[in-house]
């Protein structure tokens, strides 16, 4: 049970971890924006339904959501609707989109009315104002809370092992069957490097957005 052999098999697990991380981000970041629009909608029933939905998703443990998405269709139909991996992605995307939506909402509502009025005076359309004026300032303001969520997501990927996606923790856990505990502790190094890179990346983004002196 050499060090390299373990490292290689943990790296295989890390591949799954990265895949869950990347797919969740790519899908949840835009979906979160849609949900935040719905929760701020002037059409009140839509806003209320969205708020209840966000309450349910944020109020139930993510691990339970993963279990529900994978097993419940199987209980009803006799065979699972989605693969294990798809179930994990579905649960993660919906969960994280709800958290992101509240961050977006806070950011969007923090932009003063004057900015919209200035846009109208300049003859811009509603969507021009949103994407060209508001969103750019929102991005700068919400970067720190988003980076919090993104870093949490790195570690939440470990929940996928409840339906046996062999991510890095599960890859290490498999060595426990042979009496080896150290691979499990060794995974901490991988997480620390992963989060370290993200921290540097977000620091760089914040500097890049420095030109908005809002």
């Amino acid at each position: 049970m050499g060090f390299w052999e373990v490292t290689l098999s943990l790296l295989e697990g890390l591949e799954q971890t990265c895949l869950i991380f990347a797919l969740t981000l790519v899908l949840a970041l835009p979906l979160g924006l849609v949900i935040s629009f719905a929760s701020m909608s002037k059409f009140k029933p839509l806003a209320y339904i969205t708020k209840v939905f966000v309450w349910i998703i944020r109020g139930v443990p993510l691990m339970l959501q993963v279990i529900i998405v994978f097993y419940v269709p199987g209980f009803l139909l006799g065979t699972p609707l989605f693969s294990r991996f798809a179930s994990v992605i579905a649960a993660f995307v919906i969960n994280y989109a709800c958290y992101f939506s509240e961050i977006y909402r806070g950011g969007i509502e923090s932009i003063s009315k004057g900015q919209y009025e200035a846009g109208q005076v300049l003859g811009m359309t509603k969507s021009q104002i949103f994407f060209k004026i508001v969103l750019k300032q929102v991005v700068k303001r919400i970067l720190p809370p988003i980076s919090n969520e993104v870093i949490t997501l790195v570690k939440d990927t470990a929940l996928a092992r409840v339906i046996m996606i062999v991510e890095i923790i599960q890859a290490a856990q498999n060595y426990a069957a042979y009496g080896f505990m150290w691979p499990l502790f060794y995974t901490a190094v991988f997480y620390l490097i992963f989060v370290g890179i993200l921290t540097l990346l977000f620091g760089y983004f914040e500097k890049k957005l420095d030109y908005f002196k809002a």
């Binding site: 049970m1 797919l23 899908l27 835009p30 979906l31 924006l33 849609v34 629009f37 279990i67 994978f70 097993y71 419940v72 269709p73 199987g74 209980f75 139909l77 006799g78 065979t79 699972p80 609707l81 989605f82 693969s83 294990r84 991996f85 798809a86 992605i89 579905a90 995307v93 509603k126 969507s127 949103f130 994407f131 092992r161 409840v162 339906i163 046996m164 062999v166 599960q170 856990q173 498999n174 426990a176 069957a177 042979y178 009496g179 080896f180 505990m181 150290w182």
Partner: protein, 267 residues
């Protein structure tokens, strides 16, 4: 804005259809956990072990492709009932009980359909080597702290020999070993087939089986969803493999010839 929302929804729909699951009728998906000797992976990542080859031989007779899916042992009934796996073929003790939602004992044979039994197992007590001298009989377990797999045959046993407050449950037998090694508990009760493979190896060189305490024997069988038509087919195949000596051949290959025993009743 509308274009943006449409784009996001289209993206989500695409990803859902990409991942849709389609299971074939001619595959037998076996739910397993890694147990050295029974189900494990070799250096190339291929499944080996007694249970693995046994399942593959049965698959050959039935004309089915056998796949192995790692499961969380605590989710085995969910995995079966949702159809995510076809059977649990992984040292599944048939004549044991599990707790239901209100904490009452339920026979495992009431929860799933079992095939014929094929292997004898026993629970055993594992302690630190240094403390081995303190454990001479069942009476010496009284007042000691213990760790067992929740819902296992070992759990039923310890509740009779030591106080309930002294017993800690884990999600798998494998996770009980670090408990006793780290000194968190005094002893653990696990399958003897597993203990023989774990004690004295890797990080567990300081653990040993207490030979002085002998527990009742159990029998392993394959578990299917209630009402599954696979049970009868697999039973026939097991009989065939017993008759042509193939099963004994496999048991000898992995060192289980002394515990191999095909029996039509599992009680």
């Amino acid at each position: 804005m509308k274009k943006f929302i449409a784009l996001v929804l289209a993206l989500l729909l695409c990803s859902v259809s990409l991942f849709a699951c389609n299971k074939k009728d001619d595959t037998l998906v076996c739910g397993v956990t890694i147990i050295p000797g029974l189900n494990e992976k070799d250096a190339d990542g291929n499944w080996t072990g007694f249970e693995t080859e046994f399942a593959q031989e049965v698959g050959k007779i039935l004309g089915m492709t056998v796949e192995f899916q790692e499961i969380d042992w605590g989710q085995k009934y969910n995995e079966l009932n949702s159809g995510a796996i076809d059977c649990v073929w992984n040292g599944f003790t048939a004549n044991s009980t599990d707790k239901d939602a209100s904490g009452n004992d339920v026979k495992r044979s009431d929860l799933v359909d079992f095939s014929y039994g094929y292997m004898l197992n026993q629970q055993c007590v594992v302690v630190k080597k240094d403390n081995l001298a303190d454990y001479t009989s069942e009476a010496s377990l009284a007042g000691k702290t213990a760790c067992v797999e929740g819902g296992s045959a070992g759990a039923a046993y310890v509740s009779g020999v030591t106080d309930e407050d002294n017993v800690k449950s884990t999600t798998s037998q494998i996770n009980a070993f670090p408990e006793v090694k780290s000194g968190a508990v005094d002893f653990i009760v696990v399958d003897i087939i597993l203990a023989q493979n774990m004690c004295g190896k890797g990080d567990y060189t300081d653990l040993a089986i207490v030979e002085a305490i002998e527990l009742d024997s159990e029998i392993y069988a394959v578990g299917f969803k209630k009402g599954s038509e696979l049970t009868a087919k697999v039973n026939e195949a097991i009989k065939e493999l017993e008759a042509n000596g193939k099963l004994m051949e496999l048991a000898e290959k992995y060192g289980f010839e002394n515990v191999l025993k095909v029996s039509e009743t599992i009680e």
